[in-house]
Amino acid sequence: MVKYHEQLDRTFAALVDPTRRAILTRLERKDGATVSELARPCAIKLPAVMKHLDVLADAGLITRSKVGRTVTVRLSPEPMREAMDWLRRYERFWSASLDRLAAFAESKEIEMQEKDR
């Protein structure tokens, strides 16, 4: 349980950065990309890209495999799915609760207007 919680925090922390999100989006479109391919459209230097890839790998969001001198990066969907599950659970709770809140507040408003009359 604790491990799951730490994993989730790592996933969300990794997703905060826009460059890392951009990298993930490109990996989603393309099954496997080399590090230099990923660095190409970024306005940042290769070492910076490597650092972002380290964070994504630590969060379990990507895997890297090396053949010869080429490192291929692939998306690893499981942690992302866990993050989505987390959001979905809260959505179920809050969406229904807020509907009930709205209905309650609206009945209170009507009550108040009738009292003012």
Binding site: L15, M84, E91, W94, L98, A105, K108
Partner: protein, 151 residues
């Protein structure tokens, strides 16, 4: 993607919505995803004060969450830390609620994020790019439904 955002337009003035969100009597009338009862509601509405709510769902399961008020600006803004009691989803998250006056009453913007404070604010300031939405759709495609960050 690191947060859930929901928006509701409510035909009631902000002070009514704010009280519903923050008083034990109000909370008892809506808290929880189904018609199961709220068993306990405590609020100490001030920055640093705590809240605690326990409810039972129709399936008989009981759940309790608690946290600390981080921002209290009546009737427009509320922020609080959030934690479930017991084993379900350990760890602390952040709930933020904005109430905006509109012609028909109140627009409520609700955000629940996994990350707290600076990290969360940082990510909100950046905003969310369309690329991210696409990525999210990809991962939601296999599972069913669910909309996040739609605001």
């Amino acid at each position: 993607m690191t947060s859930l955002t929901l928006v509701r337009r409510i035909r009631a003035r902000r002070s009514i919505v704010f009280d519903a969100l923050t008083t034990p009597e109000g909370i008892a009338c809506w808290w929880g995803p189904d018609d199961g009862p709220v068993l306990l509601a405590e609020t100490d509405l001030r920055v640093g004060g705590r809240f605690r709510v326990r409810f039972r769902m129709l399936d008989g399961s009981e759940h309790e969450s608690s946290g600390e008020y981080i921002e209290v600006v009546k009737p427009e803004r509320l922020a609080m830390s959030w934690r479930w009691a017991g084993g379900e989803d350990p760890g602390e998250s952040l709930v933020e609620i904005e109430l905006r006056a509109i012609a028909e009453g109140t627009e409520l913007t609700f955000t629940h994020s996994r990350l707290r404070n600076e990290e969360t604010r940082h990510s909100h300031e950046e905003g969310w790019n369309g690329a991210l939405d696409k990525l999210e759709r990809h991962f939601l495609a296999s599972a069913n439904g669910g909309r996040h960050d739609q605001a």
